[in-house]
Amino acid sequence: MTTARLRAEAISAGYDHTTILDALSLDVLDGSFTVIVGPNACGKSTLLRALTRLLPATGGHVLLDGRAISTYRPKEIARELGLLPQTSVAPDGITVADLVARGRYPHQGVLRRWSPEDEAATAAAIAATEITDLSARRVDALSGGQRQRVWVAMALAQQASILLLDEPTTFLDIAHQIDLMELFTDLHRTGTTIVAVLHDLNQASRYATHLVAMKDGRIVAQGEPGAVVTADLVDEVFGLSCVVYPDPVTGTPTVAPIGRAKERAASIGRTQSTSAAADGTARVPGATES
């Protein structure tokens, strides 16, 4: 039942002479919202780049519909796989609708530059990302959150059935982060397979249907977030001791780092002889007030 159109089979990849991924395999389950998490330099962005052929795999194969991705023509891949890269440049003075329309490139040719399908897909992408009011504005005049929506719209105009997102929320404030994650969830509900690299474990657990934890170029654990995110795993992957408690809104796992809070509380405890917050047991926030 769970098939995977996009699969990595024992791929190795890296930059210059450094190998970052070594014989890694991953099935991107169709219709999933897969989120890849892991510490800095664990290879999660490299994996995403290898999946889109942005970085050619030096070993193994990335397969799309059973065929090695290296045998596809670039535009063919672009019609199936969309990518929201970490860094994109909006040309000076370009308007929102113009930028979104550039997502149609893989569907166009020298003589076929603006078909009715291009127009419909662009309009639909603008509507889906709720930027209709902004469409005539210049991209350089938008806020960070709005601009990211425009880039998402461009990737949507591409009409790829699998969308890869490389740290899409990194430079946004929390409200815009949630806003964007909800948008991705809506896209996921309408049938797009999503693969995202995220830094925020709590958001990852909340939105992912399939969570992949990576460390040192390997996959340490994967599966449904409730099963994957445990205090032990966070310790193993990030080297962070923490308490995992259920999100009061969604019930998904949430991570509360311990840090040195315990020591500090203990030293306060010596003088005040109360250390309510420092016993390290899991508790639901809301009960900890007072």
Binding site: G93, D98, A136, Q158
Partner: protein, 355 residues
């Protein structure tokens, strides 16, 4: 149309566009760019006719048009077709080539400073031509070949020196300026070593002039220019995508490095062939794209508008150089004077923008 089909709400692009569709052909054109291009075409035609009118034997526009279409077999027909037309055609065509070449380089590097004269390609052509003149004795074809090879070799050297996992705009410019400075030193050395007559020939060519261009010199240059412009019709689409950054354009199905290399080769060939035929003509490839961008007001630089503006600039500059001053000057001198001021202004503005 029965009216049952609901037309989707038109997309607001923030500027008027013309959509043309016929069968499987379709295009969406920025209206203002289209109007600017038409106006520039008219301006270039007018400037060319004015250039053909002026000279020791002043002609009326009517005589020029008659001469152009072969209706006049007399003296004025010969003057127009044999004496003045090659030079004016060269001004239009070379200006077009320089404008397009600059537009491609500036778009690729996302930097208004990146024109072929700044990144050392013109210097390379000049040095190549100079080597032929000083060491092998010159001749138009040999000099032109030397200049073409010099320009292409310099571009290759700059590209390879700036290459690190792909070529990044700013690194290309810095390396290009360095290479250009070295080549300028080499050129000076060659001139100092040469005999006086040879040095004078070299200097005359090095000033950039359309005077020596007749039909025999123009035809091969025109062939190269058309051959380099033709692939750009196809490559202008990937060029536009490359503005979005390497990752984004790759994700949209552009073969990034291959497209960039092809674009660079076309741009370099355009500049090198002009330098080969007429010597280095500064400023046109630097300024034309930026002026075109301000006129069209759209995103990015329209290659057509930049080319037409280059044609206009060079035709007008050459007319000024020939007729408006007490003594005729090489056109390169005029463009260098204007270009110098423009370059200083551009550098100051860029320096203020990037902290």
């Amino acid at each position: 149309m029965t009216g049952t089909r609901t037309r989707p709400e038109p997309i607001d692009f923030g500027a008027a566009h013309v959509v043309m569709r016929r069968g499987s052909l379709s295009a969406r054109l920025h209206l203002r760019t289209l109007v600017v291009c038409l106006a520039l075409t008219v301006a270039v035609a007018v400037a060319a006719i004015v250039a053909l009118c002026l000279g020791d034997l002043p002609l009326s526009p009517a005589e020029v048009v008659a001469g152009l279409f072969g209706a006049d077999d007399g003296l004025s027909g010969t003057v127009v077709r044999e004496w003045r037309l090659p030079r004016t055609t060269a001004a239009v065509l070379f200006g077009l080539a320089l404008g397009v070449s600059g537009a491609v380089l500036q778009t690729l590097t996302a930097n208004p400073l990146a024109s072929p004269d700044v990144v050392g390609i013109s210097s390379g052509s000049y040095t190549g031509g100079l080597i032929v003149i000083v060491l092998l004795g010159g001749g138009f074809a040999a000099t032109a070949t030397g200049a073409l090879i010099g320009g292409l070799a310099t571009a290759a050297a700059v590209y390879l020196l700036a290459y690190r996992r792909g070529v990044q705009g700013f690194r290309l410019i810095i390396v290009g300026i360095g290479v250009g400075a070295m080549l300028a030193a080499l050129s000076t050395y060659l001139l100092l070593r040469a005999r006086v007559e040879v040095a004078m020939t070299a200097t005359a060519w090095g000033a950039g002039s359309l005077t020596p261009v007749g039909w025999p010199q123009l035809v091969p240059a025109a062939v190269v220019i058309v051959a380099a412009l033709f692939p750009l019709v196809v490559l202008s689409r990937p060029l536009q995508q490359l503005e979005l950054g390497d990752d984004a354009s790759h994700a949209l199905g552009v073969t990034v490095e291959r497209s960039r290399l092809a674009l660079l080769v076309c741009a370099v060939a355009l500049t090198a062939v002009v330098t080969a035929a007429a010597g280095p003509i500064a400023f046109v490839s630097l300024a034309a794209p930026q002026i075109a961008r301000r006129l069209t007001g759209g995103a990015g630089i329209s290659l057509a508008a930049a080319g037409l503006l280059g044609a206009l600039l060079l035709t007008v500059s050459d007319t000024v150089a020939q007729h408006a001053l007490p003594v005729p000057f090489p056109v390169g001198v005029i463009t260098v004077v204007i270009g110098g001021c423009y370059l200083v202004w551009l550098l100051v503005r860029e320096a203020r923008r990037t902290p």
